[in-house]
Symmetry: C2
Subunit: 210 residues, 2 copies
């Protein structure tokens, strides 16, 4: 089920149950991999499950903030929320810990084949990433070009650069070539679905070199 | 105040929490402070706001996870959730970043004057804290004795110790004296309401000494 948020975000409820596949079925899964058609959110959630179960990292998507107005408490049954509204999040969607490092990121996908529109981001997400980076967190964005099937881990600094430029008559979007130049490309895989922690490790190492 | 850890570590908690209160309003604020009657959650949320605005730390309470079943999209009006249910959280309530460290904790209050019942915790919270600690996170619990107006930052290790003991015929609750012995006591204040980051700094320093 897809839910269209008032602010234009699209929320995918878990359409597919998370799969813990035994090795017997791996080959089959690999065959159909290209057709799984998961959203970026689903791919990251699956990867996070893999990273947790393998004790690589503990990273979760935050629940969507909801303003609850009315709740019913039926007898002998669990509480039912009868009226509630979506609220604007104050933070990014994902955070957690990897090998002693605080990790914070946002995930965005586009069907475009070249430009990535900056309107995909909100001011509060930029502000939050800036604050976390100041505190020593590893901050970035995962960008998925759905049509091209390409995935990029772009360090937050590069996002800030483009975000600030648009306020000074810079472009309102980022060109694919710019993203290629300033990001770490990751390839979709099976276990984990999206090995973005490899890119996080590279970001940490490149930060140490500075 | 000196704190004796069960494992033999000793450290000194700050005699006074760090406060940034303008001198003019201090007297008045202190007068009304005792009557504010905030819940522990409200006190922590206020403290987190203070820490963010003063660039000390970026820590948030996670939204309550909700399973959305039915949403209406009225014309010219925002989406209304018409049927939804509370879901069990997989994690603790609070996490974020402080000075390069990943911070993760749960907050619990009791009206008891002595024992703190372990049934206040859930297995998934213990599991999550253990996983975060393994990844190098700073993990703890903030315990509020509502009637006594006392607040403790108890390192997760001590919680694990008591939690595991109850499965081997240990007590189902923790005595106040045990909490005093193994925790850092913090005093409610005005700005921030609950200066728990002072205790986090001590936990980090005591970890380095090991």
């Amino acid at each position: 089920m897809k839910i269209n948020y008032p602010d234009g975000r699209i929320f995918n409820s878990p359409s597919k149950p998370s799969s813990k596949v035994s090795t017997n079925t791996t080959a089959k899964k690999k065959l159909i991999f290209g057709d799984r058609g998961m959203t970026l959110e689903e791919e990251i959630n699956e990867s996070n499950k893999y990273y947790r179960s393998h004790e690589v990292a503990v990273i979760y998507k935050k629940p969507t903030p909801i303003q609850i107005v009315k709740v019913d408490y039926p007898k002998r049954s669990r509480a039912v929320i009868k009226e509630a509204y979506f609220r604007q999040a104050s933070t990014t969607d994902y955070n957690g810990v990897y090998n002693g490092y605080y990790v914070d990121f946002e995930a965005k996908e586009t069907k475009n084949k070249n430009t990535f529109p900056l309107k995909n981001f909100h001011q509060h997400q930029i502000d939050h990433l800036r604050m976390c980076q100041k505190q020593g967190g590893i901050c970035f964005v995962i960008i998925k070009y759905v049509t091209l099937k390409r995935y990029f881990v772009m360090p937050a600094d590069n996002l800030f650069h483009h975000w600030d430029a648009q306020n000074h008559e810079g472009a309102k979007s980022i060109q694919l070539q710019d993203i290629i130049n300033c990001s770490i490309e990751i390839k979709a895989n099976y276990d984990p679905t999206l090995p973005y922690i490899d890119a996080v490790q590279q970001l940490i190492e490149s930060g140490k070199e500075k």
